[in-house]
Amino acid sequence: MSFIEAKEVYYRYPQAEKDALCGVDLTVEKGEYVAVIGHNGSGKSTLARLLNGLLQPTKGEIFVDGISAADKKTLFELRKRVGVVFQNPDNQLVASIVEDDVAFGPENIGVPRKEIGERIDFALSAVGMQEYRKSMASRLSGGQKQRVAIAGVLAIRPEVLILDESTAMLDPRGRREVTDVVKKLNRENGMTVLAVTHYMDEVCEADRVLVLSDGKIVMSGTPAEIFSREEELEKYELDVPVPARIAAMLRAGGMEIGRIYTKEELGDELCRLLPKI
C-alpha cells in the first residue's frame, strides 16, 4: 500500500449542487514531492482538507499511512501525520510569540514539557527562524510568518506536509524563502510534500505534477511531461512557463528541441542546437 492512497473519492459540500471532487484516485509514495495545480475552484483545497480530515469524503476511501481519513474516530492520529499550512499567514498563528505558537501543536498532542522545548528548537531551525524564537509574530514579514506556520506544523512531527497555496499571499522574496525551506525539508529530511500552487517555478521543483480540473485529476506526470503538453494545459486554464513556451514555438518551427521548462535547460538546448542551424 502506498503512503497516501485515495480511491474513487467524491466530495460534495452541504447544499452544493455539484461535486467539488468527483472520483479522484491518488497515490503518493513516502518522500515524494507532488505539486497540485488547477484553475480556481478545481478542488485543490477540498483535496487538501480531505487528506487532513477537515472534511470526510462523501464516497470513496482515503488512507494515509494506513489510517483511514474517512473515519472520524482516527482523526487525531491522522492529523498527527498530516500537517497543513494554509494560505493566509495571519490566520493560522494562534499565539503572539513565535515559540508559543510553535508549542501549540505539541501541547495539543500531549508532548511532555521538556520535549516540547526540543521540538521548538528542531522546528525553528528547520525553517531558519531560531533567532526569532521570542519575537512577536505580528512584527515578522509575510515569508517569516509563513515559515513560523510551517515550524508550528513540523513540531507535531508529521509524515507529510500539505501546503495549500501557502505562498500565494507572499511577495517574491517571501515566496522564495518558503519554497527553499520546503525543498530542503523534502531533500534533506525526506519529508513527503504535497504542494498546491499557482506558481510554475514551484511546480518545477516537484517530482510529479497533478492537474485538477472540475474535481478530477486530468493530467499527471513529471514537470517536463506536463509542460510539454501545452495545448492541454491551456484547455485547463493553466500557464506554461516561458522557457517551455519558447521551446514549444521552436519545435513548431521545426527545431528538434527537447522537453524543457527551466531557463538553464533552454540555454543548454539552444547551445547544443546552435551548430546545427
Binding site: 477537515l54 487525531f76 492529523r79 498527527k80 495571519d90 505539541p106 514539557r113 512584527r139 507535531i156
Partner: protein, 272 residues
C-alpha cells in the same frame, strides 16, 4: 499604528517578566483596588501608587514611555469626563461663571482626581500586558479560575479566547488602517460633518472589518483543528508556572502600598 495598541507585550528578560503570571494578575487587581482605595483628594496616595509604577517599570526593563503611551488609548475618555466635571460640577466655591457653566474649586479638584485615577489604573494594567505574553496571561487565568470548573464554567476555552483576542489586536489594527485608507482613496470623508455624520462614515469601515473577522475566525478554526487541537483534555503546557522569590517580593511591596494608602487616608483625615 500597531504601537498604539495598549500594552502590547515587550519582549525582555527581567524581574517582572519572569514573575509567575498568576501573581502578576492578582497583584494587578490588588493594585487597582489600591488606587480606588485612595480617598477623595488625597493626592499623596496617588503619589505612592505612581511611585510603585515607576519602580515596577524600572525593574521590568520596559521603557517608561511605553507605559505612559498606554494612556493614549483612553485619552479621549479622560478629557471628556474631566471637561464635564470642570464645567458642570457646582459644589464648592465658585471661581468663574458664564451662562450655564460654573467652574468651582471642587470641580477642578475632582476632574484632576478622576483623571489621575484612570491614568494610574491604565498604566498599572499596561505593566501586566507589557511584561506578560498573552499565552502566559491565559495560562494564569486558567489556573486562577480553576475553581469555576465546579460550576461547569469553560475555564480553558475562556482563557484561550482571551489569548487569541490579544493575539489578533495588531492584526485587526493593521486591517482597520488598510480599510480606512481604501475608503479614503474612494473619497470617503471621516473628518468633517457633525457627530452623526462621522459615526455614519464609520459603517463602511466596520462592515468589512466584521466580515473579514468572520473569515479569519473560520480559517483560524481550521488551522487549529489541523494542528490537532481538541480541547483541554490530554493537553500539556510548555510554559510552567511556579512562584519564586520575585513574586513574594512583589507581594510584599504591594502590601506596603496598600498599607501606605490606608494610612494616608487615616492620617490626613480631612481633604487637603
Amino acid at each position: 499604528m500597531k504601537d498604539v495598541a495598549f500594552g502590547q507585550y515587550y519582549p525582555a528578560r527581567s524581574f517582572v517578566h519572569r514573575m509567575d503570571p498568576r501573581f502578576k494578575i492578582v497583584l494587578s487587581i490588588a493594585y487597582i483596588v489600591a488606587v480606588f482605595l485612595v480617598r477623595e483628594f488625597h493626592f499623596l496616595g496617588f503619589a505612592a501608587a505612581f511611585a510603585f509604577i515607576v519602580i515596577a517599570t524600572a525593574v521590568s526593563r520596559v521603557p517608561f514611555f511605553k507605559v505612559l503611551k498606554s494612556v493614549k488609548g483612553i485619552l479621549f475618555f479622560v478629557i471628556f469626563s474631566s471637561v464635564l466635571q470642570v464645567l458642570f460640577n457646582r459644589e464648592g466655591t465658585v471661581l468663574a461663571e458664564w451662562w450655564v457653566i460654573v467652574i468651582t474649586d471642587v470641580g477642578l479638584l475632582r476632574a484632576a482626581f478622576i483623571t489621575l485615577r484612570i491614568m494610574l489604573v491604565v498604566m498599572g494594567t499596561a505593566i501586566l500586558t507589557l511584561t506578560t505574553t498573552p499565552v502566559e496571561i491565559a495560562d494564569g487565568l486558567e489556573s486562577l479560575l480553576t475553581p469555576l470548573k465546579w460550576i461547569k464554567f469553560p475555564v480553558h476555552e475562556f482563557a484561550l479566547i482571551m489569548s487569541i483576542a490579544l493575539r489578533f489586536i495588531p492584526t485587526l489594527m493593521d486591517e482597520t488602517e488598510r480599510i480606512i485608507n481604501a475608503q479614503k482613496a474612494r473619497g470617503a470623508d471621516f473628518e468633517s460633518g457633525n457627530l452623526f455624520k462621522r459615526i455614519r462614515a464609520l459603517i463602511p469601515i466596520l462592515i468589512p472589518l466584521l466580515v473579514s473577522s468572520f473569515r479569519r475566525a473560520d480559517e483560524l478554526g481550521d488551522a487549529m483543528d489541523a494542528r490537532c487541537y481538541s480541547g483541554a483534555k490530554g493537553r500539556t503546557k510548555y510554559k510552567k508556572m511556579r512562584p519564586t522569590y520575585r513574586d513574594f517580593i512583589a507581594l510584599a511591596l504591594m502590601a506596603g502600598l496598600i498599607a501606605g494608602i490606608v494610612l494616608l487616608n487615616g492620617v490626613l483625615g480631612v481633604p487637603v
